[in-house]
């Protein structure tokens, strides 16, 4: 289920972090979800490439303090718009589920 929302999670993490490289994005996701979203790290990079190809992210090479080359990603305007749209859809869905759950109570099973 988490994988179905991976794009939104990555976009949201980047919106919060500003420009960031893959490792920092993963750390941001972990931190902001309170450790709940502990994805296999290798799944984030194909998602970053896919979002970049879709025009939702841009990227550039920089040199890290370690001297290694580092790819840094940022949201594009289209990415910001896409995140806002997905956020609205998610809120609508989550409100609807919350409304449903509010009117129900789990049935207790007899001992």
């Amino acid at each position: 289920m988490l994988k179905g929302h991976l794009d939104m999670i990555v976009l949201a993490a980047l919106a919060a972090a500003g420009s960031a490289h893959g490792y920092a994005i993963i750390e941001e996701i972990r931190r902001r979800s309170g450790g709940a979203f502990d994805l296999p790290e290798g799944t984030i990079y194909p998602a970053l490439h896919r979002l970049e190809q879709a025009g939702l992210l841009s990227s550039r090479w920089t040199i890290a303090d370690s001297g290694r080359r580092r790819r840094v990603y940022s949201l594009t305007k289209a990415g910001t718009r896409a995140l806002a749209e997905r956020h609205a859809v998610w809120k609508q869905f989550s409100d609807a589920i919350a409304g449903l759950l509010a009117g129900s109570r789990p049935r207790e099973t007899p001992a």
């Binding site: 893959g22 490792y23 296999p40 799944t43 896919r50 879709a54 370690s66 790819r71």
Partner: protein, 230 residues
């Protein structure tokens, strides 16, 4: 350990050299950074954990391969339109050249010429419309995250459109070659031949580029399927 993992990942993506190089550099930075944050004090264990947390190299490569395939198919869609535009310009330049030199097909071949012109026109229009349809189709689809049956079907449709557009373009270029031969028939070799022959060479080169692009998408799809199967 990290180097071995990177070698394997880069090897799996060897069908797209640029992607393979980029992924290697990105993942290298990630794995060394992850290993550096490990507090075990054991370098081998830190590297082992970093690699394990990243996931199986083949599975990661398969996800990258899908992105590469999507990029290649979109580029093939654009290439088809660019090649068709190039063929059109070469065709128009040749016709303008004939008009400037007041060259016309001989009376004995005029009937055949009319039929070939008709074939040429419809084949060219068909290739343009089908290629445009293919481009719109592939660009209007979301880039998938997996090489799943839905994406395979989508790719199959796009591949079919490209193949039909290329076939129609081949018919159009062959018709152009026949018309050029009819036009130049009987005339002795002269410097005026340069433009018609050059324009035909451009058309043939364009078709070759298109066929190679389509073949490249097919090969990439085969590599992606192989990575997914394993």
């Amino acid at each position: 350990m990290i180097e071995t993992y990177l070698d394997q990942l880069a090897r799996e993506l060897d069908f797209d050299r640029a992607l393979s190089r980029r992924v290697r550099l990105e993942v290298e930075d990630h794995l060394w950074e992850a290993a550096a944050t490990n507090r075990s004090g054991d370098s081998f264990e830190a590297q082992r954990r970093a690699v394990a947390n990243f996931g199986d190299a083949r599975a990661v490569a398969a996800e990258f391969a899908v992105v590469s395939l999507a990029r290649a198919s979109r580029r093939a869609g654009i290439a088809a339109l660019v090649v068709i535009a190039g063929v059109f310009m070469a065709m128009k330049a040749r016709v303008a050249w004939y008009a400037a030199l007041q060259w016309a097909i001989g009376d004995d071949m005029r009937a055949l010429g009319s039929v070939v012109i008709l074939i040429d026109r419809y084949a060219f229009l068909s290739s343009l419309i089908i290629a445009l349809g293919g481009w719109i189709y592939i660009h209007s689809r979301r880039i998938p995250s997996a090489f799943d049956p839905a994406y395979r079907r989508q790719l199959g449709r796009f591949f079919l459109l490209c193949a039909v557009a290329a076939a129609a373009l081949v018919v159009s270029v062959i018709s152009d070659a026949v018309l050029t031969a009819l036009q130049l028939r009987g005339a002795g070799l002269s410097p005026e031949f340069v433009l018609p022959i050059l324009s035909m060479a451009i058309e043939i080169a364009g078709v070759r580029v298109l066929v190679l692009r389509i073949r490249s998408v097919a090969l990439r799809a085969a590599s992606t399927a192989a990575l997914t199967r394993r």
